[in-house]
């Protein structure tokens, strides 16, 4: 059967290496290796959760990530739907290519752009703000505005790229459905709601469930490049924390424990999202 090589692939490259996760319950060292390092039970988790900052970091991770997902989720769909409305081929192609570009910029570059725009001293937006209100506003150094910038830059970077999936899904909508609704005198706006969006419903559900699995992984680069001291109360997340721990020497067991915790939360959320989606007939399994 054609599925056999796939099963083998997943076993060898995904399931077998999973034994490595046991070092979360061990004190890993090179000499003994993964299998023979001494067991320490839940010590790594205790160390992790006993520090006063941990709760804050987990809270931040969840908050930043959910905010990015919730706020960012509609944009690729919107972009795809809008592009779908466009009939001028050249325009569609150019716009599509341009919005797909930012995906390839590293966060170093994006953060440079953000600072140019929002810096207090001579940022473009700050200048505008100052001429309107007469005062400068520290956009990068207030938690609220920083959050908006954080989420917005993520949307800017990824919306165009993510829209591709929806664009592909849109092509599978039967043209006859549009014709029919057009005959019924439905406006374009109505068609959007009654034909286009239902047509990509399954894709939307899929993307939503999968995004839940990534809730605990706020991209390291994004936070690391955008954060500054004044917002660290809300910007310190698990990945930046692991990075800091890693700087002080390789803590394999500890970082694996964190990873395991992240995975567990992701699993719970995916199961939950899938359960909801199943109620509407769009579950993954």
């Amino acid at each position: 059967m054609m599925f056999a090589p796939v099963i083998i692939f997943f076993i060898i490259f995904k399931y077998v290496p999973m034994y490595g996760a046991i070092i979360a319950f061990k004190k890993y060292n090179f000499t003994d290796g993964i299998l023979h390092s001494p067991w320490v039970g839940l010590d790594n988790f205790k160390l992790l959760f006993s520090t006063p900052t941990t709760i804050q970091i987990i809270r931040n991770t969840l908050a930043l990530s959910l905010l990015s997902i919730v706020a960012g989720f509609p944009f690729p769909i919107l972009l795809a739907v809008l592009l779908n409305e466009v009939r001028r081929m050249w325009f569609k192609k150019i716009v599509q290519t341009l919005v797909y570009l930012p995906h390839f910029f590293s966060w170093v570059i994006v953060s440079g752009i953000v600072v140019t725009i929002f810096s207090q001293q001579n940022g473009v937006v700050s200048g505008l703000w100052e001429s309107l209100t007469g005062r400068s506003y520290p956009f990068l150094y207030r938690e609220g505005s920083w959050l908006a910038i954080f989420v917005g830059s993520g949307i800017w970077k990824e919306a165009g790229f993510s829209a591709i999936i929806y664009l592909a899904a849109l092509t599978s909508i039967e043209p006859s459905l549009y014709e029919a609704s057009s005959m019924d005198g439905a406006s374009r706006w109505k068609q959007l709601w009654h034909v286009t969006l239902p047509g990509i419903r399954t894709t939307i559900a899929l993307m939503f469930i999968l995004s839940m699995g990534r809730v605990m992984e706020v991209g390291f680069d994004q936070v690391y490049m955008l954060q500054n001291s004044t917002v660290s109360d809300i910007s310190e997340v698990i990945s930046t924390y692991i990075y800091k721990i890693g700087l002080m020497g390789a803590q394999f067991s500890l970082t694996t424990a964190i990873g395991l915790f992240e995975s567990l939360v992701g699993l719970i959320l995916v199961l939950g999202a899938n359960a909801i989606a199943r109620k509407y007939g769009n579950g993954l399994w």
Partner: protein, 291 residues
């Protein structure tokens, strides 16, 4: 039929929003190109905004002459093209059976596969696996561990599921076998999604960086992403190292090399994408029917 006033406003709105979005994405690229083609002095003093100052292609000349970037580009292309072929093959093989209603245990398999997206053993065991298969320092170490992306596989599965079951039934009556059905009916109907996934895999392989560093030892086999990263780092590290410098090499700031490297990395992606776009174009045809 002439569009109504409401429709016109709607369309104008659509075009305007898209134009603004496109401009927002274009300007930074223009800036990056300008930085990479300006003089060191202009860049170092932050005078470069949208247009190059004292334009020169020195950054690119150094990239091509001073570094193995041409070799790296070939490696990247090789890794990407072969990687797409392998990954697409296996992704289809994974996704298609999961859409067959008679395939027993497909829910379990789906869950088992999604599970691997969430849980992993970490770098060391993956390395050990690849090592025990004696694939270290070969490109197989890049292709095999990432052969099937769960995300991509599910996208394809969803799209295959959306093929109306009447088509399946019709082809059965015609005596179509499983493989024939897959190759003749399912794949052609899924072209837009397949093109998308090929793009996603391609971008992934093209940008693969960390795995190359960890699993490939021979610098002659490095791809562009690695080389570019190394150049950026070594430029800044130069000054940290207590070393002889030759002023010849320092006509460029790390920022400029970075910019030039971004351009070189992004350019192929920019060229390839419009070629793939024709597969998403069907959506436009719908619009044409409407008007």
């Amino acid at each position: 039929m002439k569009p109504s006033l409401g429709e016109r406003i709607y369309l104008i709105g659509v075009y305007m929003v898209l134009t603004v979005a496109a401009l927002m994405c274009l300007l930074p690229l223009v800036h990056i190109v300008s930085v990479s083609t300006s003089s060191l002095q202009a860049v170092a003093s932050g005078r470069v905004t949208l247009f190059p100052i004292d334009a020169s292609l020195e950054a690119y000349r150094q990239l091509i002459d001073g570094t193995p970037i041409v070799r790296a580009m070939w490696n990247s292309a090789y890794i990407t093209v072969a990687g797409i072929l392998f990954s697409m093959t296996f992704t289809v093989l994974a996704a298609y059976p999961l859409t067959r209603s008679y395939f027993i245990g497909r829910r379990m398999y789906t869950f088992a596969i999604v599970f691997t997206m969430l849980f992993g053993g970490g770098l060391i065991p993956t390395y050990m696996t690849i090592r025990s298969l004696e694939l270290i320092n070969t490109y197989w170490s890049l292709w095999l561990p990432g052969l099937v992306s769960v995300f991509n596989m599910l996208v394809l599965r969803t799209s295959i599921e959306n093929i109306p079951s009447e088509i399946d039934e019709a082809s059965r009556i015609d005596g179509c076998g499983e493989w024939r059905y897959l190759l003749r009916i399912v794949l052609p109907l899924s072209m837009p999604v397949l093109a998308t996934l090929a793009l996603f895999y391609g971008v992934g392989y093209w940008n693969s960086f960390f795995n190359v560093l960890m699993f490939i030892n021979d610098p002659a086999k490095f791809n562009m992403a690695v080389l570019v990263q190394q150049m950026i780092q070594s430029q800044t590290m130069l000054s940290q190292l207590n070393a002889l410098g030759s002023s010849e090499q320092l006509q460029l700031s790390p920022e400029m090399v970075n910019a030039a490297a971004v351009v070189v990395m992004v350019l192929p992606m920019l060229v390839v994408y419009p070629l793939l776009q024709k597969y998403f174009v069907k959506g436009v045809m719908i619009g044409a029917v409407k008007g």
